[in-house]
Point group: C2
Chain length 280, copies 2
Amino acid sequence: MITTIIGLGLIGGSLGMDLKERGFTQRVIGVDKNPKHIEDALELGLVDEAMELKEAVEVADLVILAIPVNYIIKLLPTVLDCIKESAVVTDMGSTKEGMVKAVENHPNRRQYVASHPMAGTEYSGPKAAIRGMFDGKVAILCNANDSSSEAKHTVGFMYSRLKMKVIEMDAADHDIHAAYVSHVSHISSFILANTVLEKEKSKADIFNMAGGGFASTVRLAKSSPEMWSQIFEQNADNIMEVINTYVKNLLLWRWHIEQGEFDELAKMMESANAIRKILD
Amino acid sequence: MITTIIGLGLIGGSLGMDLKERGFTQRVIGVDKNPKHIEDALELGLVDEAMELKEAVEVADLVILAIPVNYIIKLLPTVLDCIKESAVVTDMGSTKEGMVKAVENHPNRRQYVASHPMAGTEYSGPKAAIRGMFDGKVAILCNANDSSSEAKHTVGFMYSRLKMKVIEMDAADHDIHAAYVSHVSHISSFILANTVLEKEKSKADIFNMAGGGFASTVRLAKSSPEMWSQIFEQNADNIMEVINTYVKNLLLWRWHIEQGEFDELAKMMESANAIRKILD
């Protein structure tokens, strides 16, 4: 099997390494518009060779799109136009409705499986690639009934080699859940960083005081603006709703402090503590 | 040297273990109003023995208050009333202005050193105690000129045994910096948990989608409501200011999404990315 990975960043690079080393594929072809990414990916052994997009898609048995979501939506129909009759296409995007809508009437729709591996770090680029990054995490297949059973089988087998637990979900539901859990975490981190950097002029003070929980809470604020602004664009409606709830809770919190209602504040924290049951 | 630790939670318990094992003190006496904490602390070897408050303070060479901040402020004058002439008192509170104000005119003020070790986890109680938890972290001494050089020396030596880097700061400045870095991180986590729990009715969905950064961003929401509501009470003015900045940034973020200004959103993220330089 020949696997073509479009986008040799954290996700694409980590995929190339694991899929090759675990015997899922005989050959990994990498595509990236950034020559430095190609150079790094080849040097790190994340891919076997680099090719131009069209050629790489035409020879592939499996094409994986691992680029920011707007680019996936734009490129996906073209990729489906060019693939072999027996080939399968999947994508790694953090939103899913835009992709399934972009190809809903495409003649090769059934060769495509919309998917989202819930794994990653706040770093980007091929040098951020990590061996075993997907192990034990969850991968979501969306609107899987619109894919052929062969395509589903190929993508499911790929995720099993990545040691991921596969679940199926409606694309619209996926985007709602992703907004509520993953995307809002990033907003919370970005806003925290904006706020602290605006208020704290001295880097030494931040560094000294960051001992407690600051580093873990703000970690996601290191994430790629290009990648994340596209996710927020694609999932704008759901994100607006979750931001509104976040703002409401934050203003309630501020109100309790302003009014000296610290027992009420403690009650909000007790409700928040319920997250223990889910995470521990 | 006899060390009395008042409050056998995460901080007090971790202190007892390290100070004893590293030869800082010959004997650790524990005080806690919760009999279960005393039982656990004795069983885990965090303290050598338990005593009633008054007796434990009277025999101590060093008294460490490791209880929620409102209780420290209430108890500190009484502790200073009862100590031996040569004894030293310090506290582990996450705010500092309330403590120094509470004893500014106390005849034994110079025997007290206001301090704050920037270390901890989101868990509480003696069973959460961790060996070496303070290693490599920063401890802050506040208004150290109001303490005798002997008292400062004792507390500084204690922190050196805990392998902490000691810095000095004005108590008012401490509380401002703590609000901007440590306290707002907790607010951000608590609000995130409140929001996600309100929006996501299904625990399975949260669990499945939490793969990315959710767990680390929401981690602090497991923290103790009793401890944290008291910190927010003590540092209310500074926290109000930082919440106002946070709200402003969040509303600006929402505005950009609403207006479809995703380039502006990317610019806010690029500013937030500057946190990399501080943390990495």
